[in-house]
């Protein structure tokens, strides 16, 4: 069927080389591809595979030290070798691009209208009222609420999802033949991602726009793409229709990518080992108890001459307990307070109210000496492995630091020996002992972070988005490592992530947070197979599943409106609108135990919420 459609973009044997101080680096080594009208081509690969550079070259956005060879033909015109001014008649008009990071991709000091209208004026000469009407039309089509008001707003006044919609509207203004989307939803929450993907799919069908979707996420590809090309180290390893690639992958790398990708509908799949079922036998129950913890931040709001302090309730009354050797997964979208909660548990941020009990005794930030002694057993692994390590310390020194704090009786030789064995344990080569963080890959740095947290053999480790920044293959390895260490040392984990598939893979129990409150807490299979709260259902249904036949037939639950701001007083009752209508703004939904171990917050029936 698509064979009679003409090619919008043809790339033949493209090579991209960068001149770096370390010599020439070949980022793209002979790539060939074509995209037809109204087709979505998925380009999949891990970081450094050259997938972005291929299309940056197409758009003429190659960095100054880069050189391209080969042939790029767009609608019959060869793009390589065009001057910038010639290229400017094509890009933004016939071919446009949206980028990964919507927060920084819009000019901060220009309004939405100024940024959108300059495209129209440049390529079509349309300006004034006519331009405004056209911009409004597109903002409506990408389903931005209150489009008229948004036109006068600056990017910082919009949420991440809205900014990405503006980017899409802006790139569609001149009805381009080709839309290049470089990781368009990677920085967004799952529910927002689901909506942006639906939107792009709609644009493709309505406008017959060809889409090149660059992504690392096999789930996104499964939902969106007609054809797929898998890239690794600058070359294609496999290509085919979505069905072929997903159901009958040929290349080992494709198979590995598909295997390493955790699936929310198939737990225990991404790793070679299964999570060991939790068994309380022989363990002390008095481990970690969190009782009604609240963390409020004061936000200064200008009122007339002076400021007024308005509390931002980041964590608003959370209670749970954790048993020894257990993993509790904490999920929720950005701003739900999951990281703040974890830090409050460890007293890195003292809770405004509530108590944390550790081994039967209170954890109290005001008792510094006592807390410091307890820290030996309480450790944390952070999201950004590189930024969380001191760049001027060798990795061995970073790993050794807890020993120097807590084990002053050990000699330096003993410490070194212990560091070396710990490094080996987490899969780092002994001879890396004198390396600095910038000399290591992201996965290796995260292993350093884990080694540093594990060296005291703690009883509790908090993993705050510990695998979120890593490629799927590395992610799977790190998860396996955590499971191994848990069994070996019997430690407990608080595993925080926005990625529900990963959380299902590692956690015994899972807690869903919404704006600082628990909405659901249950065993991992219970919560995925039998979710009760509408928010949990929405989250689970928004996660893309890396299987086109499953993904494209799935029903998605979608509630109207954007992800609300935590400063909005009505937002917390989004799933209990009956109390809002009754004007009980301060009502706290009750957490009820549906059946043993399955807690659900009070909510309106889902049919009512979908209807409103």
């Amino acid at each position: 069927m698509s064979n009679d459609k003409k090619n919008v973009l043809e790339v033949n044997n493209l090579k991209v080389t960068f001149d770096t101080p370390d010599g020439q680096v070949e980022a793209v080594k002979g790539v060939t591809l074509n995209i037809k009208q109204g087709e979505c081509l998925g380009i999949v690969g891990e970081s450094g595979s050259g997938k972005s550079q291929t299309f940056m070259t197409t758009m003429g956005l190659l960095a100054n030290n880069g050189r391209a060879e080969g042939d790029i033909i767009f609608n019959g015109t060869s793009l390589l070798g065009l001057s910038t001014s010639e290229l400017n008649t094509v890009r933004g008009r016939n071919m446009s691009m949206i980028f990964q990071d919507p927060l920084t991709s819009l000019t901060p000091h220009l309004t939405v209208f100024e940024q959108m209208s300059e495209v129209l004026q440049l390529h079509t000469g349309v300006r004034g009222r006519e331009a405004e009407a056209k911009c409004l039309d597109w903002l409506d089509r990408v389903r931005i609420s209150e489009a008229e008001r948004r036109l006068r707003q600056y990017p910082h006044e919009l949420s991440g999802g809205m900014r990405q919609r503006v980017m899409i509207a802006m790139s569609m203004l001149c009805s381009p033949d080709l839309l290049i989307a470089d990781e368009p939803t990677t920085a967004l929450d799952v529910t927002v991602q689901a909506e942006i993907l639906d939107l792009m799919d709609e644009l493709k069908r309505e406008n017959n726009t060809a889409i090149a979707l660059i992504t690392h996420d096999m789930g996104v590809v499964a939902r969106m793409c007609d054809r797929i090309q898998v890239m690794r180290h600058g070359v294609y390893v496999e290509e085919g229709t979505a069905e072929e690639v997903f159901h009958n992958p040929q290349h080992d790398y494709t198979k590995m990518l598909l295997d390493a990708m955790p699936r929310i509908d198939q737990p225990d799949k991404a790793t070679n080992r299964k999570l060991k079922e939790y068994d309380l036998k022989g363990r002390d129950e008095n481990f970690l108890k969190v009782d009604d913890v609240k963390v409020h931040f004061n936000i200064k709001v200008p009122t007339g001459l002076w400021y007024k302090n308005v509390p931002l309730k980041a964590v608003d009354g959370v209670s749970f307990d954790l048993k020894p050797g257990e993993t509790l997964g904490i999920v929720g979208e950005s701003g739900c307070g999951k990281s703040t909660l974890a830090r409050a548990v460890l007293q890195l941020i003292p809770p405004t109210e509530g108590n944390v009990t550790w081994l039967g005794k209170p954890l109290d930030a005001s008792n510094k000496a006592d807390l410091k002694a307890k820290r030996e057993d309480l450790q944390i692994v952070f999201q950004d492995p590189l930024a969380s390590l001191d760049p001027r310390m060798t990795i061995a020194d970073s790993i050794m630091e807890p020993l120097q704090t807590f084990r002053s009786d050990m000699s330096r030789t003993e410490m070194k020996a212990k560091v070396a064995s710990m490094m080996e344990r987490v899969g780092l080569d002994r001879n890396m002992i004198n390396r600095y963080p910038h000399e290591l890959s992201g996965g290796q740095n995260q292993r350093v972070g884990i080694a540093r947290a594990m060296i005291m053999e703690p009883k509790l480790v908090v993993c705050d988005e510990a695998v979120s920044a890593l490629d799927v293959s590395i992610q799977a390895q790190i998860i396996e490592l955590l499971m191994d260490l848990q069994e070996e040392f019997g430690l407990s984990l608080l595993f925080i992530s926005h990625d529900l598939s990963v959380v299902r893979e590692v956690s015994h129990r899972i807690m869903v947070l919404y704006l600082g409150r628990i909405v659901e807490l249950a065993d991992r299979n219970e919560i995925y197979l039998n979710p009760q709260h509408p928010y949990t259902q929405q989250l689970i249904s928004a996660v893309p599943i890396p299987d086109p036949s499953v993904e494209r037939t799935r029903e998605r639950i979608r509630f109207p409106g954007e992800l609300p701001s935590p400063m909005d007083p009505t937002a917390k009752l989004r799933f209990l609108k009956s109390k809002l209508k009754a004007n009980q703004l301060d009502y706290v939904p009750e957490l009820r135990e549906l059946k043993p171990g399955h807690f659900v917050a009070e909510h309106d029936p889902i049919e009512e919420l979908l209807a409103s």
Partner: protein, 308 residues
């Protein structure tokens, strides 16, 4: 905006008051006084003089009288060392000179430094960039006490174009050399700040977006890049402008311009309490004022900042 200015003005009051008390105490703690000299005055005479200037009263009373004099009559009192001159007249005379060459120095520093830095960033790693960087490094390593004599050698002694010093009511021939000597190092700093911030902006994601829209480079620079690139420059300009218009003792001494810099240093060495206090208060007020102006310009450049 209005409430921002009011708030800033209000918060300036305790700041200035603190400045007054702090410098008052500091001066009194320093050994010696305005009437100490190598040949000590007879105690009776000294007591008389001190009584005349009110120096025999407790410090608190002195500060109170001084501050109320300024607030009610804008009177900074008599000078202790320049006979029959009030601090007001010395300040107005000194500042009329310093303001002129300070203002022109500012114009030159910004007018040359900013374009130099921006062009260097746009033509990154080209000969223009290297030239601009070379000029600013050269200007930075030449301190004004080296610059001033070099200028005099060139323009006065060799070429004979400009007078070697004096003020003469502020004729243009007398202004040129002080302005060049004062502005070069500021110009160098401004150009270096502008260059590095422009380079950073040009590598940011929204410039990539602008390129992807197909905009020509000129409008990318003018519409998208300039404003954010100016932010760090502006926060430097507030204090820099105060630095320039309050003068430099080296300029005043070397070119005999008779500006504030000279008076300020003399007042300090002579323990001329009232003149030193007057100059300090003026400097302090100007610093507060121009930092506020810098903040206002900053908010205009960056919509994320709301003045309130």
């Amino acid at each position: 905006m209005f409430s921002f200015i009011v708030k800033r003005a209000l918060s300036a009051v305790p700041t200035l008051l603190f400045l007054i008390i702090f410098s008052f105490v500091l001066m009194r703690l320093a050994p010696g006084g305005p009437f100490t000299s190598e040949k000590p005055l007879p105690p009776q005479v000294l007591a008389n003089i001190e009584a005349k200037y009110g120096l025999d009263q407790p410090w608190l009373v002195q500060i109170w009288n001084y501050v109320s004099g300024i607030v009610t009559q804008f009177d900074f009192g008599p000078s202790f060392r320049y006979k029959d001159q009030t601090v007001n007249s010395i300040l107005s005379q000194g500042f009329s000179v310093t303001l002129v060459y300070g203002f022109w120095s500012f114009v030159v520093a910004v007018g040359v430094g900013m374009p130099l830095g921006i062009i260097a960033a746009i033509k990154h790693n080209s000969w223009l960039d290297y030239l601009a960087v070379g000029i600013s490094i050269g200007a930075q390593v030449l301190p004004n006490f080296v610059m001033a004599p070099l200028l005099v050698i060139l323009f006065t002694l060799v070429l004979g174009w400009l007078p070697g010093g004096g003020w003469n009511g502020g004729q243009w021939q007398y202004i040129i050399m002080p302005v060049i000597a004062l502005s070069t190092s500021y110009m160098a700093s401004i150009s270096r700040i502008a260059r590095s911030s422009m380079l950073e902006v040009l590598h940011s994601n929204f410039i990539r977006t602008a390129k992807a829209k197909g905009l020509p480079m000129s409008s990318i620079i003018m519409k998208h890049a300039i404003k954010p690139a100016l932010l760090p420059v502006v926060s430097y300009l507030g204090p820099a402008f105060v630095g320039m218009i309050t003068g430099s003792v080296i300029i005043d001494v070397y070119f005999s311009t008779g500006g504030m810099g000279q008076y300020f240093v003399d007042a300090a060495t002579n323990r001329d309490y009232s003149l030193l206090m007057g100059a300090t208060i003026i400097f302090g007020s100007l610093t507060i004022l121009f930092n506020m102006l810098a903040d206002i310009v900053y908010a205009w450049l960056d919509p994320k900042i709301r003045l309130a």
